[in-house]
Symmetry: C2
Subunit: 295 residues, 2 copies
């Protein structure tokens, strides 16, 4: 069985108790909003507001919030203090609206995890003001964890999109590739969305065949991470390739190559001919774990 | 690393090549529809049409289809024959519209996998005729794998909802529970949706704490399966519980109990005091794998 990997995974490790039972209790949420220890993370156009030095989230008091905006309940700190996120302009807050990827890389993991939760759910609200079933307006419910249709009463929940990201391996070589829009010199593990009616193991095999023309067997799950752009669940795996010959789907993959463990280790040290994903991305853990001899 | 489990997983094992590259090519899809070897699986009110004896899918010829209906491209058989699914009444087809769960349990896995794909995607079309972003009508694109807004041009993709299903284990005991609406005498592994901004391992820990009041560590992924009611990706795991004391969330869990491996094995043989999920459900594999001594 897989043990929880020892390596760090970006956007994981959040410490808030999401306190799901409070979401269903509108009165309890109202009490939480009024509590003196309540704080809000502002996302200005989906950019989290950090402290001026950029080293922490800026937790605003209710009295500091100048604008209305979609609000979600994030959870409770260990001491019971309620935490919310709100989608509104930064106004005069003494902080800095920061790109969520940059903030995720700079902050400690427990803070990045809060950004992931807040950004994914607030972005979902932005794009789900109407009922997909009937076209009527929807309104937020359950402290921001659902939207209810004002006409047909359909209830809609925040979306999480499962994605597989994987290394095909064979004879001490692993397959990396680059999409047509990747930065120059950048390679990563191949990836793709899990489709309806398949397991994640089947999605790994299908994507590697579609994108690189290879068949694989023995798919082995490694670990997962949320990726809030907008709301993916990245699930990392290894798979044994049946052969080395590649047939690339050029709409998805501009180039691909088989790399050695030494080459991979050099690249991860910043000492190679190409660039790999940074540690915040689970592809980094896939590569590092394999370079160190396991898969 | 986890190996692909040897046990069978319901709704997995499909043999069709989904041929993603054809979906983007409207002309190729039209050629496929006109090909003499093309066949359609009819879903009548989301119930797949089986042969009269109930032992296989009924693959209709184009000339047999009496009604219009949302059509999706399923993929290609090994010999290149195109396969589609259509949401329309059974009409005079010489088959039987069958509950999808019953069909999934009766048919071989490769056939059940086709039902999972067809039912999930056709159900998604039924519930997504309008744009969640602006409320305008949407129309199907990409052979049924997306819907495009006729007003704001937003593109929407079929939804897959990741779900964790897990056994908390401690000292040769495992935790099973029953929801308020479960059939009498039926217990299973606890389960819940993965939320935005958490890994699947974090979702396992959160759900076990929310529903049963226990803390866990060392979450170990086992395997996954699609569950087309309507479009879940079930991901099964074990987790080590820190203690035995339970505090149930009674809106979610009506009863829970710690069971021994012997008790679990007896129940799976149909020889116990309660009932466990059938083999088509991954919870069965979770329980069987644990009863046989591993987790």
């Amino acid at each position: 069985m897989t043990k929880v990997p020892k390596f760090k995974l970006g956007y994981t490790g959040g410490n808030l108790d999401r306190a799901d039972h409070l979401r269903r209790d509108a009165q309890a949420i109202q009490v939480a909003r009024m509590h003196p220890s309540a704080r809000w993370l502002v996302l200005d156009d989906l950019k989290p507001v950090l402290t001026e030095d950029g080293n922490d989230l800026y937790w605003a008091r209710r009295s500091e919030l100048e604008s209305e905006g979609q609000t979600i309940f994030l959870g409770l700190e260990a001491d019971g203090s309620p935490r919310f996120a709100i989608d509104c302009p930064i106004g005069d807050l003494p902080g800095r609206a920061t790109d969520a990827r940059a903030a995720g890389m700079r902050l400690p993991d427990d803070r990045a995890a809060i950004i992931a939760q807040a950004r994914s759910v607030l972005d979902w609200h932005r794009r789900h003001g109407f009922c997909a079933a009937c076209g009527a307006p929807t309104r937020p419910e359950k402290a921001g964890y659902s939207r209810l249709c004002t006409s047909c009463a359909a209830e809609h929940f925040p979306r999480v999109d499962p994605v597989v990201i994987m290394l095909a391996v064979k004879d001490d070589l692993a397959l990396v590739g680059r999409g047509p829009n990747f930065p120059a010199g950048f390679f990563s593990a191949l990836a793709g969305f899990v489709e309806p009616g398949e397991s994640l193991e089947e999605a790994v095999a299908r994507e590697l065949h579609e994108e690189a023309g290879i068949r694989v067997h023995n798919v082995r799950y490694l670990a997962s991470q949320p990726w809030p752009f907008p709301a993916s669940l990245m699930m990392a795996a290894y798979a044994d390739a049946d052969g080395f010959e590649l047939t690339l789907d050029e709409t998805e993959i501009a180039a691909a190559r088989w790399i050695s463990r030494d080459e991979c280790a050099a690249v991860l040290r910043g000492d190679g001919e190409w660039q790999a994903p940074p540690p915040i991305a689970i592809a980094h853990a896939l590569l590092a774990n394999w370079a160190s001899g396991t898969s």
